[in-house]
Amino acid sequence: MKVVIMGCGRVGSRIASVLDHNGHDVTVIDTDNRAFRRLPGDFRGGTVIGTGIDEDVLRSAGIEEASAFIAVTNGDNRNIMASQVARNIFEVPEVVCRIYDPVREDTYRRLGLTTVCPTTTISALVLDHVIHAEESGLTRRSEV
């Protein structure tokens, strides 16, 4: 399937590379063309320089044929706006939006966006390890 990814940071480039390896048609958008260096040498997908909140940039990335749109830039608001453009204007069936701020993430999830919040996800994973350690008695003897 055709997938458009906005943001070619560590996460964006990794998603792009995995989808490309699995035979999907991927296009990555980033405002900085140096970001595309993160893509592997054998990447067969396309790259577009620009911001994903601009409809014309999304169009040139092939958003009109895309089955999925993934917004993973560093800016929460940019991800939110681009996701809403993809969903409301281009009617992309699957839109995934990364939002660091948990309150904003909660708000937009209620508004119907598919959201991923690294802050709550990573905190939960870390807490899980720490609490699990405590429960298994992995504390220093002096603290007992």
Binding site: N77, Q84, T107, R110
Partner: protein
């Protein structure tokens, strides 16, 4: 009336200053703490520092009792999210967003922003209105009904020149509100004949503007 302004650029600065002078209760939210300090010196304690898209900042600003939130930062994505957060989380009745890319106006309205202000479009309209040869000018948008008021100049070559309004089949959702002929303002009836040089003031649904233009001009 309590107004929260987000973004202390030139627009936000003068907006805050003007609203204060008009006697409104105003609070300005600006991200840069240094700017906030200098604003407090000028305006008093009506400025706070923070990210206006963050719920904690809006809560501290008292967004829950705000009548209007106006987002005038330089970034469209920030203005959109500030207004959406104010609306969905704090149930602010009226949100106004500055739109830097004129193409975003329609999107913002679709996403629930009450009023959008595009400097680019505003200046463009002013230019269109001041070009004398322009035959079809968009004068005003009536947002809530999706209507526009337009001014069409009738030329000798116009298909409707020397025809009475009763003879013309207007596109649906369009009405001719007035005909301006020199110093005269004519309230049109079916027998009013359109003459070359007339300015036809019409109210049209946005979707019908182009149909109306074709009918009156070409």
């Amino acid at each position: 009336m309590y107004v929260i302004v987000v973004g202390g650029g030139k627009v936000g600065y003068y907006l805050t200053k003007t609203l204060l002078a008009e006697g409104f209760e105003v609070l300005l939210i600006e991200r840069n703490p240094e700017k906030v300090e200098s604003f407090i010196e000028r305006f008093g304690a009506v400025v706070i520092s923070g990210d206006g898209a963050e719920a904690a900042t809006l809560a501290a600003a008292g967004a829950a009792r705000a009548d209007i939130v106006i987002a005038v930062t330089g970034e469209d994505e920030d203005n959109l999210v500030i207004c959406q957060m104010a609306k969905t989380k704090f149930h602010v009745g009226r949100t106004i967003a500055r739109v830097n890319n004129p193409k975003n106006e329609q999107l913002f309205r679709m996403l629930g922003i009450d009023v959008t202000v595009s400097q680019t479009n505003y200046i463009l309209h002013l230019i269109e209105q001041s070009i004398p040869e322009q035959s079809f000018v968009h004068l005003l948008s009536l947002r809530h009904e999706d209507l526009a008021i337009v001014d069409a100049k009738i030329h000798t070559s116009s298909p409707v020149a020397h025809r009475s309004i009763g003879e013309i089949t207007l596109p649906p959702n369009c009405i001719i509100a007035a005909v301006s002929r020199g110093p005269q303002l004519i309230v049109p009836t079916a027998t009013t004949e359109l003459m070359p040089g007339d300015d036809v003031i019409a109210i049209a649904h946005r979707d019908r503007e182009d149909d109306l233009r074709r009918l009156l001009i070409t």
